[in-house]
């Protein structure tokens, strides 16, 4: 499965989709007629990145379950790598979300359910790395990280749901993701960007997995020389 598609092909594929999505977003999709205006163009990468971040955490969740079942360190590596990438994407979501907020609503931060959820997601997965950093013994670190990763991923939708209980923010107009409000041309460009981002995630996960494997290999070799 691993050798099915080589890394460069993945990166190039991701690049093609992303550029196409971007071009379509700017040239093909109409400018949003509502208050958002032109700034709505941010959406074409913002939402795919958000989706990709969640996919990354989902991958970590699955990897965690598989790790607990098999105790195979490869699943742990996949977990770390996915969480790290998920975190990078989440930070991008927050950054672009804030810029968008400023453009559309004139404020950098709004306690809007989605943004708030992503803020908590960032805290959660930073905590994941804090947890990893305070356990020395490797199996134990992997086990605890897996348990936490499972709990955290379960918590994400729950948190999102809970933020709905908060009193409505000042800006109730949020893009509804369901295809209903989206013109076809918009949807096409959005969808292509989404594929691109997901491909990019896969490519980066593979690359980072190679990094982790090499790191372990170096540690093993050092160990065998030192001992």
């Amino acid at each position: 499965m691993k050798q099915l598609v080589s890394a460069p092909v993945l990166f190039v594929g991701a690049g093609i989709f992303l550029v196409t999505g971007l071009l379509l977003a700017f040239l093909y999709a109409p400018i949003d007629a509502s208050t958002m205006g032109y700034s709505q163009k941010i959406f074409f990468y913002h939402a795919p990145i958000a989706e990709t971040a969640l996919v990354a955490f989902g991958v970590a969740f699955v990897a965690a379950i598989l790790y607990l079942r098999s105790q195979d360190p490869r699943w742990d590596r996949l977990g770390v790598v996915s969480v790290r990438l998920g975190l990078v994407f989440s930070l991008l979501v927050m950054a672009t979300g804030m810029i968008w907020g400023k453009a559309a609503w004139g404020t950098w931060w709004d306690w809007e359910p989605r943004l708030t959820t992503f803020l908590l997601v960032c805290f959660l997965y930073v905590a994941y790395f804090v947890l990893r950093s305070v356990v020395e013994e490797e199996q134990r670190r992997a086990t605890f990280a897996a348990v936490f990763s499972i709990i955290a991923f379960i918590d994400v939708p729950i948190t999102f749901f809970a933020t709905r209980f908060l009193p409505a923010g000042m800006h109730p107009t949020v893009i509804t993701m369901g295809g209903t409000g989206m013109p076809g041309s918009m949807f096409v460009s959005f969808f292509i960007s989404m594929i691109g981002m997901t491909l990019l995630l896969v490519a980066l996960i593979r690359r980072d997995l190679a990094v982790e494997e090499l790191k372990d290999r170096v540690a093993d070799l050092k160990n065998s020389i030192g001992g």
Partner: protein
């Protein structure tokens, strides 16, 4: 359950825990009072729910650390793990122990906080409040016990717990605070609370199941 009884005997024997917790709660109230007294006759009714749950969660953090520190210090945990009981039973007993602890705090905190901060009488709404409180407590204790088990097995023990516990408990905080505020400030009945109550119930169920599935791993080899 023997573990629960053992923990309770120990608490009652030493008393340090309960006494310091009650002091903690009272001090928290005083500090909140000063922190929020920004203008004359400020009505804090709308903030009481938040103050209460923040206090409970922080008190719980201290309690959780304590409840496992003792097991770890004299390697009593090994003794516990040697016994022919399921790990999940240990989890349930510990959760129950922490629940008792939290309830004791709440028995003290709720009357005092509401006496000082809530302007309208809420006696008639006590039943919905107790239901909300119990449901939120179960979620806090179950998740807290699971995470405390992990954190006590790490190098930084009590420092780690808030970092992993607080972001995860936010949903409970939101729902419980919202419901509590609705009850205290507006005397909301079951109808208005239904969504939050169901949410808390769901949270409890989900995390009890999650803990059931993962506790074997959390308690370590």
């Amino acid at each position: 359950m023997a573990i629960l009884r053992k923990d309770l005997i120990r608490e009652l024997r030493t008393r340090e825990m309960i006494i310091s917790m009650i002091l903690f709660v009272l001090l928290a109230m005083v500090i909140f009072h000063y922190a929020f007294s920004v203008k004359e006759d400020a009505d804090l009714t709308y903030f009481t729910g938040g103050m209460l749950w923040v206090t409970f969660i922080f008190a719980m953090l201290l309690g959780l650390n304590r409840s496992f520190a003792q097991e770890k210090d004299e390697r009593c945990l090994d003794g516990l793990l040697l016994c022919p009981v399921d790990r999940v039973t240990i989890f349930l007993a510990k959760t129950a122990g922490n629940l008792v602890f939290l309830l004791i705090i709440q028995v003290v905190a709720v009357p005092v906080f509401t006496l000082f901060f809530v302007s309208r009488s809420y006696v008639g709404d006590l039943v919905p409040f107790l239901i909300v409180m119990l449901l939120a407590d179960v979620g806090i204790c179950a998740l807290g016990t699971l995470l405390a088990t992990i954190s006590m097995n790490t190098r930084s023990r009590d420092l780690l717990l808030p970092i992993i516990f607080l972001p995860l408990i936010v949903p409970v905080l939101i729902a419980a605070t919202g419901a509590t505020t609705l009850i205290f400030a507006e005397g909301a009945g079951f109808g208005d609370l239904l969504a939050r109550v169901l949410f808390l119930l769901g949270f409890d169920a989900v995390f009890l199941v999650a803990a059931y599935g993962t506790y074997d791993f959390a308690i370590g080899e």
